[in-house]
């Protein structure tokens, strides 16, 4: 049984590059992801999943299901904005899930006394943890993966130290965050959309936004060109932490509680979603809006599996395979383009 499963992994991962051959990074060499030449792979995949969902289950296109899907997407999507920024800037953030857990605990435990201030405090705690990652990467010169893994450990410890059980939120005003919706579009989704718009504008219109792409493309050239690399990296991680903090607050609103064990696996979910959206894992390339379509696509795949009654444990297995396929496709193609290119 187990052997069979393991064998499946090889087979499917091997098939990845072929099935997604028209993938987001297909044969583009060093071209920028923003240039529009990257094809429409994300959009096509998105539509394919919608159609599959529509065919597979009559419950897929109901307003109830869509509403749930969209508010779920809001939480993961806001985390993914942060992950997107960090990846574009040439790093990875493995702490987003644990940081969201801290933020949900902070908001749940302070909302009663502090009100709105509690929300701000939660977001600030996320920003602080993000800043810690940034410091570890820039001052400590620790590779982002390990730095954020360490910060994730710290964050988990903090979340469980606040309380090793979930904290229920009773504030009724806070709950309207989740219960408000316009038609089948929940308020949470609107918040996500606004944040995407703001970050998109930030990336396009500000110097720092441009610098993210510059240091992610080639940190050394960026430094020589006068980009303050350390400061920009720090900003990327702080923003990611802040957004993870915001996502933690929204999760708390959805779940009506803060949960210390929240967010296990979210770092991988966000990376996968962003990669499905055509963002290069090597940094410097990728379109935010497409990345967000990647989030929706990724969640819809899970949603369709749920509606089709796929065993939840099997879903985990399939998700792992899906992530590998999504990540391997562009990486394999890239390797074909640059045979002597960068080593991982």
């Amino acid at each position: 049984m187990t052997n069979k499963m393991v064998a499946t992994v090889t087979a499917d991962a091997g098939a990845g590059p072929r099935t997604t051959g028209a993938g987001p990074q297909a044969g583009r060499g060093p071209a920028r992801g923003l240039s529009g030449l990257s094809g429409r792979a994300v959009e096509i995949l998105f539509l394919a999943v919608v159609i599959t969902g529509f065919v597979a289950s009559p419950n897929f296109l109901t307003s109830f299901n869509l509403q749930g899907l969209l508010s779920q997407a809001a939480v993961l999507g806001i985390l993914a904005i942060g992950q997107y920024i960090v990846i574009v800037a040439g790093g990875f953030d493995l702490s987003v899930g644990a940081v969201a857990a801290v933020s949900s605990m902070v908001v749940a435990s302070t909302l009663g006394d502090l009100g709105v201030l509690g929300i701000l405090l939660a977001i600030a705690s996320g920003a602080a943890l993000g800043l810690l990652s940034g410091l570890a990467v820039t001052v400590g010169r620790i590779p982002p993966i390990v730095a954020t893994l360490g910060v994730a450990g710290i964050a988990q410890g903090v979340a469980f130290t606040i309380s090793n059980r979930g904290i229920v939120i009773t504030d009724s005003a806070f709950m309207t965050l989740n219960s408000t919706s316009f038609g089948f579009v929940p308020l949470l989704f609107v918040i996500w959309a606004v944040l995407v718009a703001v970050v998109f504008a930030f990336l396009r219109l500000t110097r720092t936004g441009l610098y993210f792409f510059a240091i992610g493309g080639n940190a050394d050239s960026a430094r020589l060109a006068g980009v303050p690399v350390a400061r920009v990296q720090m900003t990327a991680f702080a923003l990611s932490g802040m957004l993870a903090g915001a996502a933690g607050v929204l999760f708390a609103a959805r779940a009506n509680s803060g949960l210390p064990g929240l967010g296990v696996g979210w770092e991988l979910d966000t990376i996968a979603a962003v990669v499905i959206g055509g963002v290069s894992l090597y940094g410097g390339q990728g379109n935010l809006v497409k990345a967000m379509i990647g989030v929706l696509t990724y969640l819809m795949i899970t949603n369709v599996m749920n509606l089709a009654d796929v065993d939840s444990y099997l879903q985990n297995v399939l998700k792992g395979v899906l992530i590998l396929a999504a990540v391997a496709a562009p990486a394999v193609l890239r390797r074909r383009n640059h045979l002597m290119g960068r080593t991982s």
Partner: protein
């Protein structure tokens, strides 16, 4: 960023790294970690008011350290090759469940096997996981941490599918007995750990794949150009890590006598922590098994001390995260290298 000189220098000295022309920039010599360990032991004796040094406590420390010790060795192989294996913790638990269930008199999801075959089964599964990781690491350009994080997800999924979430509580009695048996004051799992240290050290320092592993970690392009079969070496690295992980699972099962599919969540972080605390740079190409053993002992003693002082396990998690940051930070500053 390592220079090509290192490539031809197999099981390198732990000592000086020819970094960026500055002769006085050196990474911590192995000796420094011995001093850290000595100081920690002293502090532990004082802070625990002598409880730490009791033979029963010392045995406990080693007993608890053995599992992570073996996992950390697997992690060291990956890190020296400039990779990272985040799947070993999950592999260990999967192997423990497989060995436990198939050796049980009343197996829940596997056919009954005699203990030696059950153990072999577990080790082979570990090997298979490693082969998948190694294949992907060698044949695609996907960063190893993403590959192994994905296989981690897959393994956890498989684990829960097999067990439906239920723990395995009745492994073969012989295994439980062995887990508690002692030679003098040393429990059998600890002796097994010592034996694996010897094996791990021997492979790394005395065999050809071991030497090539350093070459791949030091400078992959240079290694490839000088004829090292990089893809095959990566296969070897992750396969070895998978087998070590399964062996760690066996020790875990023998020690605890039962294993739940959700156990071992701390293994991933701890294995990385032990490697970096031992002073192995993440930039690859350097490090010895001795370093990992020191790292594991330091973490194990620190954990034991925190237990003796009644510090909550959650806070310990945070401390561990902080230790990673401090240890890698110190090391990177000294080595002036940037990697992964």
């Amino acid at each position: 960023m390592t220079t090509s000189q290192q490539v031809s220098q197999p099981p390198a000295e732990t000592g000086p790294q020819p970094a960026r022309g500055a002769a006085n920039r050196r990474r911590l010599p192995g000796g420094a970690m011995v001093w850290v360990l000595a100081l920690l032991i002293l502090a532990a004796i004082v802070l625990s008011k002598g409880v730490f040094i009791r033979p029963s406590n010392l045995t406990t420390v080693l007993y608890q350290t053995a599992v992570v010790g073996v996992l950390a060795m697997a992690q060291a192989y990956a890190v020296i090759s400039k990779g990272l294996d985040l799947s070993i913790g999950a592999t260990a638990i999967l192997a423990a469940l497989i060995i436990g269930d198939s050796s049980s008199a009343d197996p829940q999801f596997l056919p009954h096997l005699p203990l030696p075959l059950a153990i072999l089964f577990g080790l082979v599964v570990g090997l298979l996981v490693g082969v998948v990781n190694g294949f992907l690491a060698g044949r695609t350009a996907v960063p190893p941490f993403i590959i192994t994080l994905s296989t981690y997800l897959v393994i956890v999924g498989v684990t829960f599918m097999l067990t439906q979430g239920a723990p395995v509580t009745q492994p073969a009695q012989v295994l439980k007995d062995l887990g508690e048996a002692r030679v003098w004051i040393l429990p059998v799992p600890v002796l097994l750990w010592f034996a694996l240290i010897v094996v791990g050290h021997f492979v790394l320092s005395r065999t050809k794949p071991g030497a090539m592993l350093y070459a791949v970690g030091g400078n992959e392009t240079a290694a490839r150009l000088s004829g090292v079969p990089v893809a095959r070496i990566k296969m070897f690295i992750y396969a070895a890590a998978g087998v070590f992980a399964a062996a760690a699972g066996l020790l875990f099962l023998a020690r605890t006598g039962s294993v739940s599919p959700s156990a071992g969540s701390e293994f991933m972080l701890m294995s990385v922590a032990a490697v970096v605390v031992g002073g192995i740079p993440l930039s690859g190409g350097q490090g010895k098994i001795r370093d990992v053993v020191l790292g594991v002992l330091i973490l194990g003693i620190a954990g034991n001390l925190m237990n003796l002082m009644g510090i909550s396990p959650y806070l310990q998690m945070a401390v561990q995260g902080a230790i990673i940051l401090v240890a890698v930070g110190a090391n990177q500053r000294l080595a002036q290298g940037r990697g992964v």
